[in-house]
Amino acid sequence: MGDRGVDFVAAARRKRGGRARRGFRQGAPAARRIRWRRRFRALAIGMLVLGFGLGFVAARTTLQLDRIVRHRFEGRLFRVASQVLSAPTILYPGLDWKQVDLRGTLLRLGYRQSSRADPLPVGRFYWEGRRVRLHRRAFEHPSRAEPSRDITMWLDGNVIGALRDAQTGRELGAVFLEPELVGAYYGPHHEQRDLVKVDDVPPYLIEAVLAVEDQRFLSHRGIDLRRIFGAFVANLRAGSITQGGSTLTQQLVKNFFLTPERSYKRKAQEALMALLVEAHYDKRAILEAYLNEIYLGQRGSTAIHGVGEAAKFYFGKDVRRLSLAESALIAAVIQSPNGLSPHREPERARKRRDLVLRLMKEQGRIDEVAYEEAVAEPLRVARIVPEPQEARYFLDALRRQLPDFYGTDTLTTEGLRIYSTLDLRLQRAATVAVREALARLEKQSKSLRPHGSERLQACLVALRPQTGEVLALVGGRDYAQSQFNRCTQAHRPAGSVFKPFVYIAGLEATQGPPVITLASELDDEPLEVATRAGPWRPRNFDRVFHGEVSVRTALEHSYNVATARLGQRVGIQRVVDVAHRLGIESPLPEVPSLAIGAADISPLELARAYATIANGGIRPRIRTFEDVVDPRGGTVERQPIRFKRVLDAGTAFLATSLLEGVVDRGTARAIRGAGIRGPVAGKTGTSDDLRDAWFAGFTPELVVVVWVGFDAPRSLGMASSGVAVPLWIRFMRAVTGGHVRGAFLRPGDVARVDIQPGTGALALAGCPERRPEYFLRGTEPEQTCPKWGGRSRGPRGGIEGWLEDLFGGGDER
């Protein structure tokens, strides 16, 4: 059996064959040694190659990761969205505090109402009956930093009766509130952060973060083996992953460079990169990066990153002013900003805060007294102020006004602060007015209800005529549905809102006397004008010819035929010239029908042209921002106020007077019917087939243009007075309360004399009927009523006329 077995083995060996086997069988020790040596050599070479390969891969990976780390740290570390801020609210004695929504403004600015007036910390206000005390925060401004200020306001009915410094009792003329956030130009991740320097972060906050997130941060080299081991044991005991072993550096690396995926490869990369970060940069730089990077909450669709933004979001204050308890709360939410949100989960947040405070005490970072005081502090957080959405169209318009240098990349990463001209109170009123007016129109008229996906649209733009500042701009009914800005991008047939340019061309004395005065009569009889496209026969809206009508009547009732005839008299070229001078930039066709608005223009350029009239013939440049400031506080761009006289003040005043008539007696008289008092002028406009409804109206301080229509033009079924005017009224009532301030000033070269209605003759003593009218000096009527009366100083002759000549008029209307 044994032999047989041996033989079997030998046979098997033979079968496998090979010289070595045969050699072994030969049993020579030298051969064995050689064989072992060969084996060792092969193994060594293999190991060497493997080692070299692994080393190469490791070195390459390390170098790659190192490049990534350094590129990020030495380049732009954070993307910071540029913020757009409103014009500041200015409080002064006599201001209607209800009109400016004082309480709402304070709450939106993140001020918290306090139950005690004394002491009143910064960022709080106390409101008791007629007395309001406000501890305004310090804030940055392009011109200078405004320090914090403790003020007391005494309310007297609807107005601020007195404004005093609460500390000194000194009376104050005016106090600025910090500008409100209008919006921001976000990058793809929709992050908001306010970058802070580590020196500006209160030590409590740093201690709190280190206590709960990485207590050996100052001693480890990027990874903390003790912590990893501790976490490993804890997870083993728990049977699942309950603890992480990541240091702050690892967390930073993970947020900066890696995905949230949980794998060994990612973990190894994280550790390696953490070591590299620690090798290159000091602890302060790493800590600063961490404090600015860390995700800390959510405001709507905007992610709150960094302790600077979190301090504002949770407490409405600057990070430098955080208390110990507030610092602990910020450190507490790092673990789970949404699950531990003090707004949504106050109890969980408080428990976690107390845990942070306990850890701080246990680690000797705070003493017992501080701990007890902080734990006893109730959880108080600022109201979440949703980011305003109503100014999205304005943000787009502003971006287009910025020089090309400020592209999307710059605006979404550089953290610029853009001080805009927007008045958020007006902007909100405009948004509400557009929304409500459109809803009401759709309810009123079946033809205005949505057809498929197409809905009735509107736009509203409000300017300050003296400075051209855009105070409110709503480019459509819903930005989320359509970003097309109907105020700035749409060019629609102007209709009758264009007519004032024809009358201005007629009233303006350029070379020789003007073609018309306000006492002139116009012929509203059938008219036929030969054009290249055949004869053009304008018709009135009411399909009636009105015969001889006064200039006022023709414009107040928007008679097409009379205006077209005036256009022919002054010449279309001159009408084009006037429109362009006043601010219309779109090309205008030199055709007879231009006189009645056959031109496509944008609401914004129309607003500018009307602003020129309101501004006494001085054309302002459109201005959407004042300053662009970089994160270091340096002004990098400024848009100064610019204007230019393009029309004499007298003609501008005559045009204003005509347009006041439209509001007082004409197609826009619904404005007076709605109870809006004071100086208001404007013009309605309806394009062919009732497709576009316009109203351009102004007061001495505000120009507001409204357009209503469908994007794909179709009939609205009614004229502007029933569509655009109600929207205008809704807005103006909201912003003025129905009482318009100021007056349209009559310049010295305009005389006010009585004329006989119907004939336009100068009404002297004995004239049976008369009404006052305005004329450029030297253009008063020659004809008198009664006819035998001598030409004198007119009804204001004698001492009255002499005084007027001496002092240059000066009455207000």
Binding site: I90, L95, R144, G173, Q466, G617, A649, G742
Partner: protein
């Protein structure tokens, strides 16, 4: 005797005081015009706006030009029809060597001036600033009569041929 001398001295002082007060009251209107005085007039918005101008002039005087411009603009925000805001800005532009822009602002003052109580006092400064702007632009013949009118209307303030921020306060 002594009593009589004292009486004469006192009477003399009183007379001199009265004369000084009379000069101040009935002196050239341009010299008595001040933004501080105008801050007493108008509705609340006008008064607040004019007070902001005073702050602007102070900043202007102490060479904080950027702050001055912002305060002038804030004054316009509160009351865009305040002629003194344009007057202050026109003075600023002349001082900064931008005569064309100054003339634009002066146009605006002219348009708003008729209804103002302080118009008579401001006209001398208007003439002076316009004259200075025109002189910078090289229109000497047009500038001279205006500057002369300024010196007539406000001999003290225009004695050196220019209007400082402090002289408008």
């Amino acid at each position: 005797m002594n009593t009589r001398v004292v009486r004469w001295v006192v009477q003399g002082i009183l007379l001199l005081g009265l004369a000084a007060a009379g000069c101040a009251t009935f002196g050239p209107p341009g010299d008595s015009f001040s933004i501080a005085a105008e801050a007493q007039y108008g509705d609340p918005a006008r008064r607040a706006s004019t007070r902001l101008l005073l702050r602007g002039l102070k900043a202007d005087e102490s060479w904080h030009f950027r702050e001055a411009v912002v305060l002038y603009e804030r004054a316009l925000q509160v009351d865009p029809t305040n002629p003194w805001a344009y007057l202050c800005r026109a003075r600023f532009e002349v001082a900064q060597g931008d005569p064309e822009r100054a003339l634009d602002y002066l146009d605006k003052v002219e348009a708003l001036l008729p209804s103002e109580p302080g118009a008579a006092g401001a006209r001398a400064h208007l003439a002076g600033l316009r004259g200075t702007a025109l002189a910078i632009l090289g229109y000497t013949s047009r500038a001279e009569p205006l500057l002369a009118a300024a010196k007539r209307g406000a001999p003290r303030k225009w004695a050196d041929g220019q209007l400082d921020a402090s002289e408008l306060q």
